[in-house]
Subunit: 462 residues, 2 copies
């Protein structure tokens, strides 16, 4: 005799509704009023000593340039390393180049724990300091752990709440998908983006706070409060409401993307950091003589709230502030976003969908207008009434120093951008992008940040 097996519904039809209900609750949550959140964050920042100092590479503890290759590595061989990359795209204003790049083959976990209070889903976020954050402390997922973190190489305290995401006793998994990170700075990096619903009681520890999705949305309107790891998980939420249609069917959109991905046949070769052409190293940084793109620097960190109390590490420091924007246009009564099929050297599968504009304007300021990124001037010149959303967000503060970008949604008209945009661009709805975010290899991390603002209600489409 075999006991009857209870089947599960393949798709949790109630989840989108529950997420939208959480997004609609903006003023207060089970634990804190939205108006009090900045005070709570300031309090958390005061509770922890945290100083970050730039140091020379030879002052790094545990890190050194490997003999021969010159790669910047940790003595354990874990965490990450900085190596070299040679790239030949064959087209564009910079058809080939060499650069340092971070290699971190392990897939970490970016996991948010959710639980219902008073019938509304709340997200357990952590006030977490990272050395590269411009304001040090931001809200991060419940768990933000490299495999080194949770397999013990870090030699620090255990990762709180990790048991909800791994092992037999974990909660109900709503999302668990590998998503890429910055293709310009990471070599084929991806992390597990997870949303797990707790099945039992969860006691919020110090530095942790239960927030509704709407509260997170309110915070996403502010500069540098919700960190990248949090944003990318929220981008993966299956929250999309129905749309009456789209300019292109899902199949047509996927076909366009397939053509774009197939169009590129880049030559990407790893090489020793010491052999990278066009970059120079002094005691404190590795940079290009023209100062463009980014610098590799080293910092020391003194903190009390992190897994270990002090450490030093390399960071990538982009030069200048980025501009990352989707153009938004009404098409047939449905808002559409102009996506870009963007080749990035570090992406595993060459091309992912990016915002319309994703660049650092300083890097192209010396170029004639025709060679600057398409639509950049349109975004920079947008009058206030056209700017549907703007906030500054920074990228992962554990790897990037002051990597800030202006994230924008900018309204345009049919006279400015036609239904048939230039090659490499295409119109898609938020629902279409949300569907693709349920799988890896489609949306790059910058596109996911802007999508998270829509999911959490920080920005609304017309």
């Amino acid at each position: 005799m075999t006991a009857a097996v209870a089947l599960r519904q393949r798709v949790d039809g109630a989840l989108p509704h529950r997420l939208r209900r959480s997004a609609a609750q903006t003023d207060e949550g089970h634990m804190i009023r939205t108006a009090d959140l900045l005070g709570w964050l300031a309090d958390r920042a005061r509770a922890h000593r945290f100083t970050v100092d730039r140091i020379a590479f030879d002052e790094l503890d545990g890190w050194s340039f490997a003999p021969g290759t010159g790669n910047l590595v940790h003595h354990t061989g874990r965490f990450f390393s900085v190596e070299g990359l040679s790239v030949t795209l064959g087209e564009g204003t910079v058809p080939s180049w060499e650069q340092p790049i971070i290699r971190q083959p392990e897939n970490g976990i970016l996991g948010i724990l959710v639980k219902e209070f008073d019938g509304v889903l709340h997200f357990l976020l952590q006030a977490k300091m990272e050395p590269g954050n411009p304001n040090q402390l931001q809200l991060s997922p419940t768990v933000q752990a490299t495999r080194s973190n949770y397999t013990g190489v870090h030699r620090g305290a255990e990762v709180p709440y990790l048991e909800h995401f791994t092992g037999p006793g974990r909660g109900r998994v709503h999302i668990d998908v590998l998503q890429s990170e910055h293709g310009s700075w990471f070599y084929r990096k991806s992390n597990r983006n997870m949303l797990v619903e707790a099945t039992g009681e969860v006691v919020p520890r110090a530095d942790f706070c239960w927030l509704t999705l709407g509260q997170i949305g309110e915070l996403l309107r502010l500069d540098n409060v919700v960190n990248m790891d949090c944003r990318t998980v929220i981008a993966c939420l299956p929250i999309a409401a129905g749309e009456p249609g789209a300019l292109h069917s899902d199949a047509e959109l996927q076909s366009w993307f397939t053509v774009e991905r197939s169009r590129w046949d880049p030559t990407i070769e790893c090489k020793p950091l010491a052999a990278v052409a066009g970059w120079e190293r002094d005691a404190y940084c590795i940079r290009r003589p023209d100062g463009r793109y980014f610098r590799l620097v080293a910092v020391s960190v003194e903190a009390s709230s992190r897994e270990v109390s002090s450490w030093s590490q390399p960071l990538i420091e982009p030069t200048g502030t980025g501009v990352t924007a989707f153009l938004v246009r009404d098409i047939g009564g449905v808002p559409h976003l102009l996506v870009q099929a963007k080749a990035e050297a570090g992406l595993l599968d060459k091309v992912e969908l990016a915002p319309t504009v994703q660049c650092n304007p300083a890097n192209s300021a010396h170029l004639p207008a025709a060679e600057r990124p398409p639509f950049l001037d349109l975004v920079l010149a947008a009058p206030p009434e056209r700017i549907r959303y703007e906030a500054r967000h920074s990228e992962e503060g554990g790897r990037f120093l002051n990597a800030e970008s202006r994230y924008l949604l900018v309204d345009v008209t049919g006279d400015e951008v036609a239904l048939q945009p230039p090659a490499g661009f295409q119109w898609a709805t938020a629902g279409q992008l949300g569907g693709l975010a349920g799988h890896g290899h489609y949306l790059n991390v910058q596109a996911r940040t802007l999508l998270s603002c829509l999911h959490a209600g920080a920005a609304r489409l017309p």
Copy 2:
């Protein structure tokens, strides 16, 4: 004034129904009765001279071992090359090895054109000869073209019907997705799998035939009639009927897969073919001294029906016949297939979902039972009444010589395989696998062959 824009439905809700109606029509199509198909194929085979002879490498025309690397390359630098790979998986019965591997970075098109006749969708297939096919002529997609084919490097005739798949006048695209090919023999190869519905008249040329999906299903019950390129496209059809549920929700299944993919951190390095350890080369082949896995050989081809009338090329010739099987089990009234998360050295993202058993038994015959592939003995010992489906199919005859495998679906009971299978295996429904086949990086090509048999009705689940 802007003209009103007609939006499209994001998902074509009628397509699954139309595909199922085509699958249900098994006896005859618009153009030919199913009973007459083998006669038509034999007639096509007679119409074309086609001889394949094994030759020495130095008799290859246009191909040679490159000085220094020893890589086997075409003088144009196009088509493909045979290079070396060094693999360290770190676990399994063979934790590290070196091997020759085919590199072909371009994404070709595997495209089937469909059109309704008498209210039923028909698929335009081609009777096509490939040198590696054990029986030379099989049914292939309407278009089976490398980029070299259609950008003219081949210097042959134009590819018929290509205009339906590319360019502004193409038909209605139902499917266009990049799918992997054999990870043991190809280095990061993928092709566009396309299904396009013709918008106007289409005249079937000689060697082409309109078939219902049900007719293709009948042919899939036979050995070596429907080629791999055709099978993988059919696997991507959005045909799944609703299921009342599954042992695991889609999110849980994806999470299991994410864990499996993250678990592997293989070291894969390209190296010169001349430097590959453990293989030996003579005038006619490159092989291992123990004869296992495969040989690299060269053939000359004389044909009249292909784009060019004669050529020579290298082929990979696996040793022995493969066994590729899904175990099938009823769980809670719904049939489930036992999928394997299989690491293959040539896959772009390390791991894809494979059938329960995918191996060449000869390669493990020398091993103790505990080290042989899990479930292989169960498949080999299955009594006839347990074998739900069996046919021999061969892999891409343009690259592989006599690469035949027994493809099976084998019924098992709960006493034989539990709800919680061994690590690396999981139960999934056909509908779940069909959903994943709509995206790349999920199902390997062998799993797609078996899925195509279900989609076309060659095999039916209980």
